[in-house]
């Protein structure tokens, strides 16, 4: 069999991410259910949800503008673009020259921005409330993503995510340095915030007054809702890949052979499962924070990221 080229691998990696994302979220939900002594829906339930939503009719409020219809596509497209840039299976990939840390952050922000606008667009009260809360959270979490990964970039000498992974693989001792650990802490808290997980937001809540992400997409139905949900799940998988591959990079393929890619796939699945278990256990233990406490938590992660940078700056 001919060796795969970089472009093929990149496209395959993104397709894989899209395919795995619903399964990952299904796994998290199933684990939480089991931990809470329930049987829980099967792990592939999100796939069935997507199939159902794509078949359903779209109902759009008469107050909505073009933004309402465009937003799901923008969000989906930006998240898929991030999937091209995040090291999931192999480094270095040809798209790395286009994408580095800052591009990733901006793409994520683009999606968040449009989603927030879409929440405001139909003019419903809950949508506006969700959007304002989302912006509060995003204001502190987006810079933290940048800072936390920047701490790692200082060591690697470049903000290119592929290079960061390569550098950590070359120097294993750096993985336990305080800069890395602090950055991991910061990034973990940001993962919770960006993906609307406890303790920041409850993804399973039915109470509109406690919603952040759900409130913004309350008006969506049919294929629009399918696209938005799928992007949210893809985001979870991408953040997990970041957490796994930046801090524990062993397994990521550095040469494009079938054996290396197969091994990369296996380790990726393993890391995703481990992180899914960790998240499920964590969410079961922790209670949702009151809204005015959320900035405090995000400030903690921000400070951790700042500390990570200062510590890495010196030990360099």
């Amino acid at each position: 069999m001919p060796l795969p080229t970089g472009y093929t691998v990149a496209i395959a990696q993104t397709a894989l991410a899209l395919l795995l994302a619903p399964g990952l979220v299904g796994l998290i939900r199933w684990l939480k259910a089991r931990l809470q002594n329930r049987r829980g829906a099967p792990v592939w339930q999100p796939y069935l949800e997507l199939r159902k939503l794509f078949a359903k009719e779209v109902v759009v409020s008469s107050n909505a503008s073009w933004l309402f219809r465009a937003a799901p596509f923008v969000v989906f497209a930006s998240t898929v673009a991030v999937a091209f840039l995040v090291p999931v299976l192999a480094v270095p990939l040809p798209f790395d020259s286009v994408g580095d840390l800052l591009v990733v952050v901006y793409l994520l922000l683009l999606g968040t921005f449009f989603l927030a606008l879409a929440g405001l667009d139909p003019g419903s009260a809950f949508g506006g409330m969700g959007s304002s809360r989302e912006m509060t959270v995003a204001a502190l979490s987006e810079p933290t993503v940048a800072l936390a990964i920047f701490a790692l970039a200082l060591g690697a000498g470049s903000t290119n995510l592929g290079q960061i992974v390569a550098r950590t693989m070359a120097d294993p001792a750096a993985a336990v340095s305080p800069g890395y650990l602090l950055a991991f802490g910061a990034l973990f808290v940001v993962t919770l915030a960006e993906n609307g997980r406890l303790p920041v937001d409850n993804p399973a809540t039915h109470l509109e007054l406690t919603m952040i992400h759900e409130a913004m997409i309350l008006e969506y139905s049919g294929r629009y809702l399918a696209l938005i949900e799928w992007s949210a799940w893809l985001k979870v998988l991408l953040f997990f890949s970041l957490l796994g591959n930046l801090f524990v990079p062993w397994g990521v393929a550095t040469v494009l052979t079938w054996a290396a890619l197969g091994w990369a796939l296996a380790t990726l699945l393993a890391k995703l499962v481990v992180l899914a278990v960790a998240l499920a256990v964590f969410e079961t233990r922790v209670a949702k924070l009151r809204l005015f406490r959320v900035p405090e938590l995000l400030a903690v992660s921000f400070v951790l990221a700042v500390l990570a940078i200062t510590v890495s700056f010196l030990v360099r």
Binding site: P178, E296, A299, V303, V306, L307, L314, V315
Partner: protein, 218 residues
């Protein structure tokens, strides 16, 4: 070996600093006392680590005293004080939590800038942690001036002393033994006197909210 030692001491120092930042994050005396106890234990562990690597017997004694005095005895006394004159569980600090944390982070960055010239002088493998110790000193100062409860101010002061001890340990592997003992004695005496004064405050003011201490204002 050297590099692992350096990394581990920096890890220990980071833990000590993070416990100090926890003083800015969590509210309520129980959380503060817990953070201080954890900080002292981390500090004792770092001292023990340095003692193991350098083979200094004096540092072992320092580590044991740190553990016993600041890790166990003082938190017990603080908890007892809190139970007697706890008052309301939380008092709003002068600066809110999120802003305090951001200021704390900036203070750590400031500490790095201030400590930069010192790092050139030292050739010890532990020198990378000195800015963190200085950061703890600055953060503790901020805790003292921005918190309203007298008990929290005392905990901030004890954290300040921890920061100075850490600085001495990382910079020169400790200070001469006699001096160290004198410092410990002073610290204990100072703490006991503060306890007595807080007791007096509780007696005369019926609360330990330092905002009430405003009769002398001219």
């Amino acid at each position: 070996m050297d590099s692992a030692f350096g990394h581990l001491t920096v890890l220990g120092s980071s833990l000590v600093l993070l416990c100090g930042l926890t003083l800015l994050w969590r509210r309520g005396s129980a959380a503060h006392i817990g953070a201080f106890a954890a900080q002292s234990v981390a500090l004792a562990a770092t001292a023990g680590l340095i003692a193991v690597v350098t083979g200094s017997r004096e540092l072992w004694v320092v580590a044991v005293i740190l553990l016993g005095l600041k890790g166990i005895l003082m938190p017990i006394l603080l908890k007892r004080m809190d139970r007697r004159f706890g008052g309301p569980r939380e008092l709003e600090p002068y600066v809110n939590t999120a802003t305090s944390l951001v200021i704390g982070g900036l203070l750590v960055v400031l500490a790095y800038i201030v400590t930069w010239p010192i790092l050139d002088v030292s050739r010890l493998p532990t020198r990378a942690g000195m800015p963190l110790a200085m950061g703890l000193i600055f953060v503790s100062l901020f805790v003292i001036i921005s918190r309203k409860k007298a008990l929290t101010q005392v905990i901030g002061f004890l954290a300040l002393e921890n920061g100075i001890a850490l600085l001495a340990m990382l910079g020169t592997y400790g200070i001469p033994f006699i001096v160290e003992m004198g410092v410990f004695l002073d610290a204990l005496m100072g703490f006991l006197v503060m306890q007595i004064v807080i007791y007096r405050i509780q007696e005369t003011f019926e609360s330990i909210d330092v905002e009430q201490l405003n009769r002398l204002s001219q």
